[in-house]
Symmetry: C2
Subunit: 200 residues, 2 copies
C-alpha cells in the first residue's frame, strides 16, 4: 500500500502542450461538441487513442483549456489594470485587455467565452467556478468606481461584460480593432454612469 511509484520528470519532447493548444484552437473556432478527439489528436500529429495518455477525458481536456484560459486572460487584465491610476482608467484598461485577449490573442480565453459550462456536464461546476473567479475582478473594478447612483453595480457590470463578450459573435478582423471597440464601449459606459440619473 505504501510502495511509492518511482516518479520521473516528463520528457523534453512531451506533446501535452501541443494537444492543449490544438484543443483550444478547435474549441474556440468550432465549439466543444463539434470538435472531436480525432480533430485534436490529428492537429497534434498523433492518433486519437494516444491523447488519453495525457488527458483522462474530453471533459478534462476542456477543463484544462479553461484553466489555462483563465490564467492567461487574468494575467493580461491584471497587468493592464495595474498600470492605470484612477478607478475609471483601471476599468477601461481591464476591458481593453479582456477584449483584446478574447478576440485576438488567445484561443484559450476565447473558449471561456464561447463554450458554456453546461456543454460538459460532468465538469460544469468547476468551469463555472473558473468563470466566477475571473469575473470577480470586474466586480471589484466596478465596486471601486465613484458613482452618483451606486445602486445596481451588478447590472452595470453584466451590461458591460455582456456587450464585450457578445462581440465575439460579430467581430471580424477586417473592422475595428479590439482595443478600439473596447475603448469606445467603455467610454459610453463611463458617460452613462458619471451622469446622475434624473428623476422623472
Amino acid at each position: 500500500m505504501t510502495e511509492q511509484a518511482a516518479l520521473r520528470a516528463p520528457r523534453q519532447d512531451n506533446r501535452r502542450r501541443q494537444l492543449l493548444a490544438a484543443a483550444a484552437r478547435r474549441f474556440a473556432h468550432q465549439g466543444f461538441r463539434a470538435t472531436t478527439i480525432r480533430d485534436i489528436a490529428g492537429d497534434a500529429g498523433m492518433l486519437p487513442g494516444s491523447l488519453y495518455y495525457h488527458f483522462a477525458s474530453k471533459n478534462d481536456l476542456l477543463l484544462a483549456v479553461y484553466e489555462e484560459g483563465v490564467r492567461r486572460i487574468a494575467a493580461n487584465v491584471d497587468r493592464a489594470a495595474a498600470g492605470a491610476a484612477d478607478p475609471w482608467a483601471r476599468l477601461e484598461a481591464a476591458c481593453t485587455a479582456h477584449l483584446e485577449t478574447v478576440l485576438d490573442r488567445s484561443d484559450y480565453a476565447q473558449v471561456i467565452v464561447r463554450v458554456l459550462p453546461q456543454d460538459a456536464q460532468k465538469v460544469s461546476d468547476r468551469l463555472i467556478a473558473l468563470r466566477d473567479e475571473y469575473e470577480g475582478r470586474f466586480v471589484r473594478l466596478v465596486d471601486d468606481l465613484a458613482l452618483p447612483n451606486p445602486s445596481d453595480r451588478r447590472n452595470l457590470r453584466l451590461l458591460l461584460l455582456g456587450a464585450l463578450n457578445w462581440s465575439q459573435v460579430w467581430y471580424r478582423p477586417a473592422g475595428d480593432t479590439p482595443s478600439a471597440i473596447a475603448r469606445q464601449f467603455t467610454r459610453y459606459f463611463r458617460r452613462a454612469l458619471e451622469r446622475p440619473e434624473e428623476v422623472r
Copy 2:
C-alpha cells in the same frame, strides 16, 4: 409529366407543430448539437424515423425553428415599437420586447440567440439572413435617434444588442424581470448617448 398529384389537406391532428415546439425547447435549453432527433421525436411521442415525414433533416428543422423564432420576436418587437411616440421610447420598447421574448416568452426566439448559424453549415446562410432581417429593425431604430455625435451608430447598436443577448447566459428567473433589465439597460444607453462626447 403533367400528371398532377392529388393534393389533400393535412390532417387535423397534424403533429408537425408539436415537433417544432419540442425542437425549439430542446435547442433553446441544450443547444443544437446536444439535441438528438430521438430527443425531439420522443418529446412529441413518436419514433425517430417518423420525424422525417415532416422535416427533411435536422438542419431543416433548425431552419424552421429559426423562421418561427424570427416571426415571433419580430411581431413582439414591432408591436411594442408601434405603441411608442418618440424614437427613444420606440427603442426602449423594442429592447424590452426583445428581451422579454428571448428570456421568458419564446423558446423559438431563444434559439436565434443561442444557436450559432455555423452549427448547421448547410443552412447557415439562411440562418444568417434571418438574423440580419430581424436585426435590421434595430438598425433603423438607432438611425432614428437624434444623437449629438451621430457617428458609430453601428457600434452602439452592437453594444446594446450584445448586452441584451448575453443576458441569456446569466439570467435567472429568480432575479430581476426581463422588462426591468431591459429598462435599466436602455436607460443607461440613453444617458450615454444624449450626452455629447467631450473633446479631450
